[in-house]
C-alpha cells in the first residue's frame, strides 16, 4: 500500500506445492519428536491465563477454565510457548529476507475498508472463542488433527471452510 523503506521489491511467494511439502515435513518431524503436532491457541490461552494471573489474580485463580493453568504459577511453561515464539521469529526472518516487512493496516480492500480495525478485532474474538470450544485452531486441530486422520480434525476443517465461504459472501469489496 504505502511505500516501504525497503527499496528492493518483495520476493515471490513459494509455489503452494513446494510450501505444502515442506510444511508436511515440518509437521511430520514434529510428530516424530514430540508425539503431537503444531499449534497456536494453546499458547494464546496460556498467555491469557498469565496476564490474568498478574492483572486479576483472585479472579483468575477462581476461574474454572484458567485456574488450573495458574496453579503452579507458571502458565507459560510449556512446549507450545516456545513453538509460537519460534513461529514469530521464523516469520520475521522469512519476511525480512524476502523484503516483505511493511508497517501497514492491511486487508482494507476486502475486509471492511475504513472499518478494518473493527473487522480485525471481531474476527479475532470469534476465532479465539471458537478455538476454545473446539480445543484447537486451524493448526492444532485442522492441520495436526488431519495428519493423524482424526474425525475431530476433519470435522473442524469441513465447518471451517463451509462457514468461511459463506461468511465471506457478506464481506463487500471496496472499489
Amino acid at each position: 500500500m504505502s511505500e516501504s523503506s525497503n527499496t528492493q521489491l518483495p520476493q515471490s511467494y513459494w509455489n503452494p506445492l513446494v510450501a505444502g511439502l515442506i510444511l508436511g515435513m515440518v509437521l511430520l518431524v514434529t510428530f516424530v519428536t514430540t508425539g503431537h503436532g503444531l499449534g497456536a491457541t494453546g499458547f494464546t490461552t496460556r498467555f491469557t491465563a498469565w496476564m490474568g494471573m498478574h492483572i486479576v489474580p483472585v479472579a483468575t485463580n477462581a476461574n474454572d477454565y484458567l485456574g488450573g493453568m495458574v496453579e503452579d504459577g507458571k502458565p507459560l511453561s510449556a512446549w507450545i510457548t516456545w513453538q509460537v515464539l519460534g513461529v514469530a521469529l521464523g516469520a520475521l526472518a522469512s519476511a525480512y529476507f524476502a523484503h516483505r516487512i511493511q508497517f501497514q493496516m492491511d486487508g482494507r480492500k476486502f475486509l471492511g475498508g475504513s472499518k478494518r480495525p473493527v473487522t480485525a478485532m471481531l474476527g479475532g474474538v470469534l476465532a479465539g472463542f471458537g478455538a476454545r470450544i473446539a480445543a484447537g485452531c486451524t493448526s492444532g486441530l485442522g492441520l495436526s488433527g488431519g495428519a493423524v486422520l482424526s474425525l475431530a480434525g476433519f470435522t473442524f476443517l469441513c465447518t471451517f471452510f463451509a462457514v468461511g465461504l459463506l461468511v465471506s459472501r457478506f464481506m463487500k469489496e471496496e472499489k
Binding site: A19, L23, I101, M105, G107, A120, G124, A147, V148, S150
Partner: protein, 189 residues
C-alpha cells in the same frame, strides 16, 4: 532445555514456511474463500497428506508407535461449532490464530489487532465457561477417534483417497484460479 530448542526450531520452521507461502497476507488468505486463490487449500492438503503418509510409513517401520501420537478426542459437535466460529473469524478478520502471528511479524497492524481480539475471545470464553462447558464435549462419537477405525478400513486406504483428493484440489483450484483474478502475489496492491 530440550523443549526450548525443539519448540523454537520446529516453530521457527513452521513460521518461516507460512510466511514464504504468503500466509501472513490477509488478502491472499481470504482469497481462498473468494475462490480466486487456492493456496490455502493446496498447502494444507499437501501438508496433511504428506504427514499422514509419512506417519503411516514410520509406523510400519517401527519408528513411531501410533498409540503414542496425540489424536484429538472425537467431540464432533464441539469441533464443528468451533470450526464454524474460527472459519467466520477468518472470513471477517482475515486470519486464523497462527497466521495472525505471521501477519503481525511482517508489520501488519490489523494482524496485531486480530491477536488482541483472540485474547479477548479467550477471556470471554473463560468468563462464561461454567454455563457453556457442555459445548466443549458436544456430540461425542464414542466408537472411534480416527477415520480408519470409524470406517473399519486401513489407514492405507484412507491415505490413497486423500492423495486423490489432493490431486483433485490442485486441478480444481488451478482451473478456478485461471477463470478468476488468480493467486495473490507478494507485489499486488
Amino acid at each position: 532445555m530440550e523443549i526450548i530448542i525443539s519448540g523454537l526450531l520446529l516453530g521457527g520452521a513452521f513460521g518461516f514456511v507460512l510466511e514464504r507461502a504468503g500466509f501472513g497476507n490477509p488478502n491472499k488468505l481470504t482469497a481462498q474463500f473468494r475462490l480466486s486463490d487456492w493456496s490455502v487449500f493446496k498447502v494444507m492438503f499437501t501438508a496433511i497428506v504428506f504427514a499422514a503418509v509419512g506417519l503411516m510409513i514410520f509406523e510400519r517401520l517401527g519408528i513411531v508407535a501410533s498409540e503414542e501420537l496425540f489424536v484429538p478426542p472425537a467431540f464432533l459437535g464441539a469441533a464443528a461449532l468451533g470450526g464454524a466460529l474460527v472459519g467466520a473469524g477468518f472470513a471477517v478478520g482475515g486470519y486464523c490464530p497462527g497466521t495472525s502471528v505471521v501477519g503481525m511479524m511482517s508489520g501488519r497492524i490489523d494482524a496485531a489487532i486480530f491477536l488482541v481480539g483472540l485474547l479477548l475471545g479467550t477471556v470471554i470464553f473463560a468468563g462464561i465457561y461454567p454455563s457453556i462447558e457442555a459445548l466443549t464435549t458436544l456430540g461425542e462419537f464414542a466408537k472411534a477417534d480416527a477415520l480408519p477405525e470409524a470406517l473399519h478400513v486401513s489407514s492405507f486406504s484412507v491415505n490413497v483417497v486423500m492423495v486423490f483428493a489432493a490431486v483433485g484440489v490442485f486441478l480444481l483450484g488451478s482451473w478456478m484460479e485461471k477463470k478468476s483474478s488468480g493467486p495473490v502475489s507478494s507485489n499486488s496492491k
